[in-house]
Subunit: 213 residues, 2 copies
DNA sequence: CTGTTAAGTGAACATGCGTACACTGAAAAT
DNA sequence: ATTTTCAGTGTACGCATGTTCACTTAACAG
């Protein structure tokens, strides 16, 4: 066998699985997940096509694993930012900084979500929608604890959470597409993100009178 | 030949070309443009695969034609709304109504833009980016004529135009994904679009003091 | 009326695909 | 020490694809 030596079976299987996930993520960057073939992924992962089936029953199952992995990155970002002391001092500026940094560090995951959210097919696309919906609800819980928001109705918080997530996705898309080594563009995206968040917060006060519909 | 009779050669060729465009647009709705094959499109258009080449040199060329067609729809929407008397009375409400109506009427075109903007490949993706950039500049010219905006710097107008276009695309995505016969959802999307536009307009006043960076 | 043009046809091809199957050999279990 | 397990291998298959080429035949030009 072509396995590296000195590892337990279980550890080696895990490594190969990770190689498949990484291969699919990398190939998806250029071609989109739905474009890449099982054989293509296997080649990139350094295994023979049939070995793929020892880890995933189909490409679709691999896609769902990538959704899970990508959203784990997203959730880790929220968890880390809740621990970051800067967030309490200035939540808007800190959030913009964190978003840009984390998206740059995990470009493949955020690109996967941005691309497959609309371009993907079948279960992968549905899974991303579902995860995004879940994420809106989770962020709503975080937002509800903020000083300026604690009195709002849960419906309003949920709605604002949706706005934040939509803008976050949109800003993440911009970072993903940003050419490397363009601190000017990065600053511009951060400023845009900051401004949008301020707009949302400022404007929300007026929203109540706007409701009947 | 399997051509309908009584038409000139030129007219018949035009019809077949339109059948190919329509076939590709319809198949793209379910599978995404990059997924569908030349043979698939030919079958749906009612021609033999090789006849495809009488109209397009490749699928990529067909994709570029779809970009052109889709943005023609978008531009027509702007032109029509400039003629609409309601727009002068209440530009925000009228714009939200027009956006939802036109996107519903041309779902395939807006879905194509939304999907291929990120999920597409190669020249098609680049062409969409380019058209969107152009569109931002064009909308900036329209916006610059509005009473509340006429004094703004062209940079500011361009930036606000970018915000409007991003939100328009985002709202169009929501309409595209909206299940049919859900007037409640439609109303909700319209309200969201309205509110976002108000936020942008209200908040812009504060932006000046925000600039140094 | 006659010859030319060109949109659409149909057979043929090389290639890449997903997957079935029998296999190997090192790690794990006995 | 022997057997079992199972991640990874290699071959083989049927199928859909893009593209080639020689063809038909109705519309057009003279």
């Amino acid at each position: 066998m072509a396995m590296e030596q000195g590892f337990s079976r279980q550890r080696q299987k895990e490594r190969t699985r990770e190689a498949i996930l990484a291969a699919a993520l990398e190939l998806s960057l250029e071609h989109g997940f739905a474009q890449i073939s099982l054989r293509h992924v296997a080649r990139q992962a350094g295994i023979v096509p049939t070995a793929f089936y020892r880890h995933f029953a189909s490409m679709e199952e691999l896609g769902l694993a990538l959704v899970e992995q990508s959203f784990a990155t997203l959730r880790q970002m929220i968890r880390d930012s809740q621990r970051d002391p800067h967030v309490f001092a200035n939540i808007i500026d800190a959030s913009a900084d964190i978003l840009v940094r984390v998206v740059k560090e995990n470009r493949e995951h955020f690109a996967f979500i941005a691309r497959e959210r609309f371009g993907g097919q079948g279960l992968v696309r549905l899974a991303i929608r579902h995860e995004l919906d879940l994420f809106v609800s989770e962020l709503a819980i975080v937002l509800a604890r903020l000083p300026n928001i604690e009195n709002w109705s849960s419906d309003d918080v949920h709605m604002v959470s949706g706005l934040f997530v939509r803008n976050m996705v949109s800003n993440a898309e911009q970072v993903v597409e940003m050419p490397a080594n363009r601190p000017d563009l990065e600053q511009q995206i951060k400023n845009g993100a900051r401004r949008q968040m301020r707009l949302i917060v400022i404007g929300f006060k007026d929203w109540q009178s706007d409701a009947p519909q």
